[in-house]
């Protein structure tokens, strides 16, 4: 399959890229692992592609103590090998489950979140960690909270002339995190996945975050359910309550990966498992 004809521009500075994106009917090309298949299927088209792979200044992981800044062109494979295992273990666990080995060698964190696929791995991780997305244009820099960035399926808060330049993750301390992904087959998008962060102090829950992919149009943060456990000891009953509340608040889609009913059941099971209760 060939995409329809497009022009090609490979800028060597971010400014050149932003100038071009502002003026032309153009899409940025990061790793291309979602964009190229969509161009081939002719689901989308663009007059120009702006290849960001010459912008090495957008590929980095910077640990600033209380937060970690990750350049948008950082590849999944870099996150798996790099130092985020210690600083943002939840992101590390998700990164190693994105697509497959080959996809992780091309795909980038900025590209993945800019695609805003509701079944992708990073959106729920960003939402659970209250990460911030930094967008650059030639006029301004904008900072958007993860919860507002994912506006709808394949619909991120990116304006004409903007690209995602960086993702900022606050570092959690004293938390246990888990990324649980249920797939039909190895390498598939999540049927349901859960990004969880839990802080327990003196046997009682101080903070809990539950964010799911694959169950809604956007990553779903189960804020009401999270509150149920705060101040309490974890028990089989209250974990079940949390799982029930989280799963009854959404109406997941029915598609080839699973029916709405089944997705909700899976949500319950992985929530209970992640929190250490029996499924």
């Amino acid at each position: 399959m060939y995409p329809s004809e497009f022009g090609y521009f490979k800028p060597s500075t971010l400014k050149e890229a932003l100038d071009f994106l502002e003026k032309e009917d153009a899409r940025p090309l990061a790793g291309g692992q979602s964009l190229i298949p969509m161009l081939k299927l002719r689901v989308i088209s663009s007059k120009f592609l702006v290849d960001l792979n010459g912008l090495s200044s957008l590929s980095y992981v910077k640990d600033e103590g209380d937060k970690v800044r990750i350049g948008s062109m950082t590849k999944h494979a870099d996150l798996v090998k790099g130092n985020v295992k210690e600083s943002i273990p939840l992101l590390y666990d998700a990164a190693r489950q994105v697509g497959d080995f080959q996809v992780r060698n091309m795909g980038t964190i900025g590209g993945s979140i800019s695609n805003a696929d509701p079944a992708a791995d990073y959106p729920s991780v960003l939402t659970a960690l209250d990460a911030k997305v930094i967008l650059d244009s030639n006029h301004a820099k904008r900072e958007v909270d993860a919860k507002d960035f994912f506006k709808g399926p394949f619909n991120p808060d990116i304006r004409k002339g903007e690209i995602v330049s960086e993702v900022v993750f606050p570092k959690l301390s004293g938390y246990t995190t888990k990324y649980v992904k249920v797939v039909r087959r190895a390498g598939d998008y999540a049927m349901v996945s859960l990004a969880m962060a839990l802080k327990v102090k003196d046997g009682k829950v101080e903070d809990l975050r539950l964010a799911y992919s694959g169950v809604s149009d956007t990553p779903y943060r189960a804020r009401e359910a999270e509150k149920l456990l705060v101040g309490k000891e974890i028990s089989e009953e209250n974990v079940r309550e949390v799982a029930e509340m989280a799963s009854s608040a959404v109406n997941p889609p029915s598609d080839v990966r699973g029916s709405s009913w089944y997705r909700r059941e899976v949500m319950k099971v992985i929530t209970m498992k992640a929190l250490g209760g029996q499924p």
Binding site: M1, Y2, P3, S4, E5, F6, G7, Y8, F9, K10, F20, L29, G32, Q33, I36, P37, L39, K40, L41, K47, F48, L49, D51, N53, A77, G99, D100, F101, Q102, V103, N105, M106, A186, G187
Partner: protein, 158 residues
């Protein structure tokens, strides 16, 4: 910058030899390679699922049906034709010895991915092999012998 319909110059090194071609930006790397005669690289699913088109781009395995030829400009590519150095590579030997192929269509992609995996992890466990190879699909063998062959090849490092 090239406009839609125009061609762009791509200079790459394939298995150690330099090539320079003018290609349309929409040309996929897999077609670029096959048109130059590197037909060991297969087009399987053409949707980045099956891995039959796996090649190494600057030492990293990629699915060449999901990379534009122009993205490879200035880079080095290794295909199945480039790993043996005149004789069979230990991975090719091991695939043959262990009956790790039947129709053989997925094999070049399997071997290139296994090559990449062993470069990063020279002594993988069975689980690590399965995890590293899950982007490659085989419809004949049931995978057992593929895992066996990769394990065996990992013991005979060239």
């Amino acid at each position: 910058m090239v406009n839609p319909g125009e061609k762009v110059k791509v200079r790459v090194k394939i298995n150690g030899v330099e090539y320079e071609e003018n290609v349309s930006p929409r040309k996929l790397l897999v077609h670029f390679l096959r048109d130059l005669g590197f037909t060991g690289t297969k087009v399987g699913c053409d949707t980045s699922t099956c891995g039959a088109c796996t090649v190494l781009l600057n030492g990293k395995s990629v699915k060449s049906c999901t990379v534009l030829a122009v993205q490879a400009d200035g880079k080095e590519i290794i295909t199945i034709e480039g790993i043996g150095d005149g004789k069979l590579h230990p991975l090719q030997e091991a695939f043959s010895d262990n009956f790790a192929l039947q129709c053989g269509f997925c094999t070049p992609g399997m071997i290139m991915q296994a090559y990449s995996l062993l470069k990063e992890n020279p002594t993988p466990s069975d689980e690590e092999i399965k995890d590293g190879m899950h982007g490659n699909i085989c419809r004949c063998t049931g995978y057992q012998n593929i895992v066996k062959a990769i394990k065996e090849a990992s013991k005979v490092r060239p």
